[in-house]
């Protein structure tokens, strides 16, 4: 995910200060890692260098947080291209969870792999419960629900894998150590 594209998207509606952009980013993408101001200004600096945004004015005596930025025509074309691009499904299975199970079998035994899977499942379940509680909270906004759903869906996929792998650990060990 690219912070630059989110900032361009926010600027598409009109010029904003860096401070504003940080707030809008954090509001619109609940549960994303909050943006640091330094990151906002660094990203705006790169976007400006590439001609995708430009300074739109200074409030009072200035300072970086008083500069407002606007999106350029080039910036709009760039944003449009990004919105139209479909993400290719990941070509490789890279997962710390998967690697850890295989390494546990190589370096120790099935019991070690099982202990890890059980503990990991408990951690995933507890996170999923927390997200489910947040989304059923009476005041939850649609943005909160959609963000929680995204995380829940991914945890659920992991949980399914943890569960089926637990059932297959003994067979996997035979294969790995044969």
């Amino acid at each position: 995910m690219s912070t630059a594209h989110v900032l361009l998207g926010l600027l598409a509606a009109g010029p904003r200060h860096g401070y504003d952009l940080k707030r809008a980013h954090d509001d619109r993408l609940p549960r994303a890692k909050p943006l640091a101001y330094g990151q906002v200004y660094a990203t705006l600096g790169r976007l400006e260098r590439d001609g995708l945004v430009t300074e739109a004015g200074q409030d009072r005596e200035g300072g970086p947080d008083r500069t407002s930025y606007e999106i350029t025509e080039e910036g709009r074309r760039h944003l449009d291209a990004w919105l139209s691009a479909v993400d290719p499904p990941a070509p490789y299975v890279t997962s710390e969870l998967f690697s850890k199970v295989v390494v546990a079998l190589l370096a120790a035994d099935a019991g070690r792999a099982r202990d890890y899977l059980v503990a990991q499942r408990a951690a995933h379940m507890s996170r999923m419960r927390e997200l489910t509680t947040a989304k059923t909270e009476p005041g939850a906004g649609v943005g909160d629900v959609v963000a929680a759903d995204y995380a829940i869906g991914h945890l659920e996929a992991d949980l399914r894998w943890l569960q089926t792998t637990l059932a297959r650990v003994a067979d996997l060990q035979k294969e790995v150590t044969s």
Binding site: M125, R129, T136, E156, L159, Q163, A167
Partner: protein
């Protein structure tokens, strides 16, 4: 939290088949407990025993400090009508009655007046997003509409304990959310204790805690997986 309902050392056999082999489980008012585990591990049997629908072969089911195993069938049936709500995977509505009549039925049986029962039933159908099906009979409703109607019927009496067996098993995600959302709401707002049987982790995540079964016993790893 002290238990509103508890099972201690529950044993239940079907002929020579042991389905429950000594299960302890407690539910407090306002608490949602998920009962999970693989097919055939005894989830439905446990739910039926706790709800007093099935008799146990060993152990005790205690509700508000009383051993309901000692009660007559009539007394247990009254308890189920007045203080318990039961919801299964497939609604089990009365086919001859309309949706609103189905939902109003438990209120009428409890002595509520017709007009009030009907109004309360309509409110509940609305909360579950099926108000427009109020005058339809189950046979003309979709599975999801029937299930939401059955949820309304289970909750309309504001039961102290709700027993739900895979209540969203046949529903799409968003319809399932509506049903689970209302279950969470009655637990939080009315202090209903909920026993929620499910094999889906995303449904179990609605619960405050999870009790996993494996071959008729509680699995301490919380996994309910055969080893």
């Amino acid at each position: 939290m002290s238990a509103l309902l508890s099972g201690t050392g529950l044993v239940r056999n079907y002929g020579a088949t042991p389905a429950l082999r000594g299960i302890d489980l407690e539910v407090a008012a306002g608490e949602i407990v998920a009962v999970t585990g693989p097919s055939g591990c005894g989830k439905s049997t446990l739910l039926h025993c706790l709800a007093g629908i099935l008799r146990v072969d060993g152990g005790t089911v205690t509700y508000r400090d009383q051993d309901i195993g000692l009660w007559s069938e009539a007394a247990r049936s009254r308890l189920r009508r007045t203080e318990f709500g039961v919801l299964f995977q497939f609604g089990q509505l009365v086919p001859e009655l309309t949706a609103v009549e189905n939902v109003a039925l438990p209120l009428l049986l409890a002595g509520t007046g017709r007009r009030e029962a009907r109004q309360t039933a309509l409110d509940w159908l609305g909360r579950l997003g099926v108000a427009e099906s109020a005058e339809q009979r189950p046979g003309t409703m979709s599975g999801g509409q029937q299930q939401r109607c059955a949820t309304a019927r289970a909750l309309v009496t504001e039961p102290r304990v709700l027993f739900a067996d895979e209540p969203t098993g046949a529903l799409d995600v968003l319809t399932g959310e509506q049903v689970l959302g209302q279950i969470v709401r009655v637990a939080r707002e009315q202090g209903t204790a909920v026993v929620l049987v499910t094999h889906e982790s995303s449904v179990a995540a609605y619960a405050d805690r999870e009790v996993a079964l494996r071959d008729g016993v509680v699995d301490p790893t919380g996994l309910g997986l055969a080893r």
